[in-house]
């Protein structure tokens, strides 16, 4: 395997100084080294979006990102969405719109939504559908998720 590499990352505003094997994925680092199990492993090949996190303001599928690639980066996971006890408006919108069934896709959906609305606070229906393409959901049929995003747009105004 070879020796470990040192990386310094900020996750949900906390700084970490870690030693990782070169083949450690960001997903495994978050879930197993940092105990942040909110980010899910769905396909392990970058297709389903359940592992979505925000790295330096961009959404990535963390299952195919190596931890060593994100040295120096600022990362947001689902656990970092709320401040204290209050839900982030996007989280509240998902609850209110009935957009959560089994919940496995939900963290990924919420983070993609955050990245979308940070860049485009007033997206069209097509923008929303296009942006969420990388996040698959087997339960809801997507309509309520799109409702939740539209709901969040209003809450954030």
């Amino acid at each position: 395997m070879g020796s470990k590499h040192r990386i310094q990352i900020t996750v949900n505003e906390e700084e970490y100084d870690l030693l990782v094997h070169p083949n450690r994925t960001l997903l495994d680092l978050l879930r197993y080294d940092l105990g942040l199990t909110g980010t899910k492993e769905g396909c392990d090949e970058g297709d389903c979006g359940a592992c979505t996190v925000i790295v330096n303001r961009k959404v990535v599928t963390s299952c195919i990102v190596l931890a060593v690639e994100v040295d120096g980066a600022t990362i947001t996971t689902i656990e970092g969405m709320q401040k204290g006890d209050a839900l982030h408006p996007i989280q509240q919108a998902f609850v209110d719109s009935g957009a959560v069934q089994c919940g496995f896709c939900t963290p990924g959906m919420i983070l993609t939504t955050k990245a979308l609305l940070d860049e485009f606070p007033d997206p069209s229906e097509e923008d929303i559908k296009h942006y969420l393409e990388g996040n698959l959901c087997r339960c809801t049929g997507y309509t309520k998720i799109i409702d939740a995003v539209n709901n969040a747009v209003q809450l954030l105004k």
């Binding site: 199990t37 969405m81 989280q91 998902f94 609850v95 919420i110």
Partner: protein, 143 residues
């Protein structure tokens, strides 16, 4: 509708809150100290007779706690209904689809079952009259 407290009212999903926070615990989120990890060896071919399964090397691998095959489990067929019961827990004499479960490995971490220990399945096919990979010779499948 006014008399009802739930029917006709907007009631949030019971666990929507934990799910949007990421704090809902799914099975794969559970971490227990000293826990072991299991993986399934699956058939890479759609149809074959199992002539032999040799788990001796896999069992000896450091960190591997157990290797199970059909001889370790009840050979009782099951399905979602007894009427259609046609499935075994682990394949006994035949594999019938790509993905059919052949063996189960329990080890101290996730990497160990994936490492090439040789749980070997020697199989060949096809069965007469069944579409299969004609001419496939005996092949070895590693755990």
């Amino acid at each position: 509708m006014d008399n009802y407290s739930i029917v006709g009212k907007r009631i949030p999903h019971r666990d929507a809150m934990e799910k949007v926070k990421g704090s809902a615990v799914f099975t794969s989120d559970i971490k227990l100290s000293g826990m072991l990890h299991g993986k399934i060896l699956r058939s890479p071919v759609p149809h074959a007779k199992i002539r032999n399964i040799d788990i001796s090397k896999a069992e000896k691998l450091k960190g591997v706690k157990a290797v199970f095959t059909a001889k370790d489990v009840p050979l009782i067929k099951f399905s979602i209904s007894p009427t259609w019961a046609d499935k075994l827990i682990l394949a006994n004499k035949k594999v019938r689809y790509i993905g059919d479960e052949i063996a189960a490995v329990v080890a101290v971490d996730e990497e160990r079952p994936g490492v090439a220990g040789t749980g070997g399945v020697i199989g060949h096919g096809p069965e007469i009259g069944v579409r299969g990979e004609a001419g496939v010779a005996a092949r070895q499948v590693t755990l």
